[in-house]
Symmetry: C2
Subunit: 272 residues, 2 copies
């Protein structure tokens, strides 16, 4: 893939994402200081949390999207909006209000982000990820490159698994055995391993060349829709673990991203 | 262990560590902005790096320690100072100038720190870890509690492996197979997994209750000497993987730290 030498972001949806993520980040930053006292509930299990901040961010986004694009579909992680549409022809907005909620609640580093993608006809047209505490904004448009805080970025040029830094996303306990089974040979071979347990951090790190590869065996569309475009438009490659293409509203949950220099080599190490 | 309700830091060595770490942090912060251009060399392999900043920090510390405590021994990771003394009766300073050099060179978050411990008669008497970019200082004194930026801190009260957040430090490729072998059952059982690949981050995260446990199969004294006291004085427990006590200048390299609530349960999951 030839990368643009300068970004070309022309869609009104891209501009909308940028404005909305900045607005939402202001709210999240204000609540972060009081994160030890926000209301927290467990969803699937004690390690799968939702806070009142997750819910408030999604509600605010849903309302703003409904005002600006009243005929579009909204899909989000929280509040019963988590129904994956079968109709790929539609215009849809796919959001994770806070990806990395556990790191919002407690962590040495604020490794979480707001993720929002605009999908049309099954294609991710525009997307943004905002790390609110660092005010760190990744913005991508299909065919128009990825900007990080206004600067065009691209993936690393690390050439092999042996030299690569890999972000393994171990996820919750329900996907743990599968993660270890699939990636144990890869984890033996790879140069370095990191795990922040937030898809937006892992994938945006690949896009900006802080990491070379990312793996997760069980993500939902709101976890990765925005970041997939961010990686691809920075020159990286994203696929399923068997090398097949990502279809956002398909029934697969596994995601592999690399800088594109050793994608096939990495896939060859996996135990499927 | 009963924790002090207020810290009591009275040793002149503790005050010295505090002053020196602040001074060194100023230097590292200044160099961090130009980290993409600093001189980097590979040590053991391409994933084991040392930068000119590591070397400069150690040299500056070694000089200041020699001026203030001319009869004390200096042990550090770089520049041939990495000889572990057999004499446990001595007064020794143990330093890692930058623990987490890979994250200094590139990372979404500045997950590295300067680590300095004062050891006397085999006992870690005083220590400090400074995360220079966040100006985040952990300071501990034997029997006197752990302060983080002047505030007394303590470990979490998470009661079990199933609910715990574990920092697995996968280290370099030479310890990778052993790490996966030892901890694979633990990784299946534990609530959450993180990996920042810097011992100071993993251990200080346990001390300040952002994480509940930490494991590494192959550390050197300069990686952990300071942080061990920081965890213990915050109410946590640190041991070898078989439950035996840490001797800083012993011949063991494995380190397990927990908040003390499920230490035996965690040890029981390991494959030794």
């Amino acid at each position: 893939m030839t990368l643009p030498v300068q970004a070309s972001h022309t869609l009104k949806e891209t501009a909308f994402i940028k404005g909305l993520l900045r607005e939402l980040a202001d709210y999240v930053r204000a609540r972060y200081g009081e994160r030890h006292t926000v209301d927290i509930s467990a969803k699937r299990d004690a390690n799968d949390l939702v806070t009142e901040v997750d819910v408030a961010v999604q509600q605010q986004a849903q309302q703003r999207i409904a005002e600006a694009f009243p005929h579009d579909r909204f899909i989000g992680e929280e509040e019963g909006c988590d129904v994956i549409p079968s109709e790929v022809g539609l215009r849809a907005w796919v959001m994770d209000p806070i990806d990395g909620t556990q790191n919002f609640v407690r962590s040495m580093y604020p490794a979480f982000g707001i993720s929002l993608a605009f999908v049309e006809g099954g294609i991710i047209r525009a997307s943004g990820v905002m790390m609110p505490i660092d005010n760190d904004l990744f913005l991508a448009e299909h065919g128009g490159g990825t900007l990080r805080n206004g600067q065009l970025i691209r993936v690393s040029d690390v050439p092999s698994v042996e030299l690569a830094r890999l972000e393994v996303d171990f996820g919750g306990r329900h996907v743990r055995a599968r993660t270890l089974e699939v990636s144990s040979e890869l984890m033996r071979q790879v140069g370095q391993i990191r795990c922040h347990c937030a898809a937006v951090i892992g994938l945006c790190s690949v896009a900006c060349a802080d990491t070379d590869a990312y793996i997760h065996v069980g993500l939902k569309p709101w976890d990765y829709a925005a970041s997939v475009l961010i990686v691809e438009e920075a020159g990286g490659v994203v696929s399923r673990m068997d090398g097949s293409q990502i279809r956002v509203f398909g029934d697969r949950h596994d995601v592999i991203a690399t800088n594109g220099r050793f994608h096939a080599e990495l896939l060859g190490t996996l135990t499927l």
